[in-house]
């Protein structure tokens, strides 16, 4: 159940058997939820945090006029709302963007974990810091990159994140987002996203159809995107 989470953590630092066991013990039974379901609701005060085991989720913000912005994506092995453990109220919703399998850890158990396992606590803390680093890269993309470069960057990021949890095969990964949803991620219109995706295809950088992306030219794609994976902290580093 926590295999992919462990893959991610162990890329960065050693996780002892005791720590892995302590973490595994926390997890509630798995649940399946359909695409579109809300895993956590804006304004709510959850008593547990959700671990994503399979599928894709997004942090969704709804504006007054109904406009939608997605401020983050999560892949298998991510805690999608670990922050709700330490924040009073959700400032956004977490929505399943595809059919998902999830588990959860109760906040009172997490609290105990922070008392008993300081090193593991630091590792979990660091995953939330990487989330923030991803947010910053998105800000750079929205603020200072062209729609094309920003989109390319998102593809690079998704590729890198999924590779860590062993979900890339033959340079191909699942990315089950409609162009409309993608527009809400990138802060663009669906029409423009369509044109940008077409250009990425025409340039021979990716193959992309029905929720599946194949990287065709990684060097040119990362160059276009100005993708530097430092922020994903894929190196080993004792915490």
């Amino acid at each position: 159940m926590i295999e992919r989470l462990l893959l991610k953590l162990r890329l960065r630092d050693r996780v002892s058997e005791q720590e892995a066991a302590a973490l595994a013990e926390l997890m509630q039974p798995m649940r399946r939820i359909p695409a579109g379901a809300e895993i956590a609701v804006q304004g709510a005060h959850p008593q547990e945090s959700t671990l994503l085991i399979r599928g894709l989720t997004g942090r969704v913000h709804i504006l007054r006029d109904g406009e939608r912005q997605i401020s983050g994506l999560h892949v298998a092995g991510d805690f999608v709302d670990l922050h709700s453990f330490l924040l009073a109220r959700m400032d956004h919703s977490v929505v399943a963007l595809s059919a998902c399998t999830i588990s959860a850890a109760r906040h009172e158990d997490l609290r105990r974990l922070t008392a008993d396992h300081p090193h593991l606590t630091r590792m979990l803390w660091s995953t939330t810091l990487i989330d923030a680093a991803i947010h910053r890269q998105w800000l750079v993309g929205m603020g200072r990159k062209s729609a094309l470069a920003q989109t390319a960057h998102l593809i690079c990021e998704q590729y890198a994140r999924l590779k860590v949890v062993d979900l890339v095969e033959r340079e191909t990964f699942q990315f089950p987002l409609s162009q409309g949803a993608l527009a809400d991620v990138l802060g663009l219109s669906a029409v423009h996203v369509n044109r940008v995706v077409q250009e990425l295809r025409a340039e021979g950088l990716v193959r992309w159809r029905s929720g599946e992306v194949e990287i065709l030219d990684w060097p040119r794609l990362t160059g276009l995107a100005q993708f530097d994976p430092t922020y994903l902290q894929l190196e080993r580093h004792a915490l």
Copy 2:
């Protein structure tokens, strides 16, 4: 030295005298640095984290073509690079945007703190989570709001953050950012920032000259900005 940090923490949860003392003990002597100085450098691997005591700092990203994006601002009482404690390398620089006074906490001391003071650890962790929540609000602003609303939101946010650390007086606070720097925060051009600021003035929402902002019409300003302070977690909430 840590007064403003304590103001911020105590707004959210109780901090015992022992905890406050443990925190105070960590802090290295104060230092003054001039506007423009780099407090932490992209790519570096700091051995300590910086607490901002006075002044304004920003997280600066530089792109290939020299373009600049500022992905975060910090005010007195904020740890500007607490994340460097748990991340291998800085993915951006932290720059003093005005003359600043800073202190620092060594990472090895912070590590000890996480072992001895789980509750205080959770409180520090939560400050980094609020940082991330601020990133998300900026994403919403950049992606889905007009330049005017986005700018108004930044003013509201800055007002709310500074109020917590007692740096608002007669609805007025220091905001020593040039319009060029502001453009790098908002992802706009300096020319357009100028026009947006003029419109905020013309609408009677703010007075704003030479690095000082006075709020003239809070209800209309927050309305325009769609500002909902939930994400700043200004409520009490046992951690």
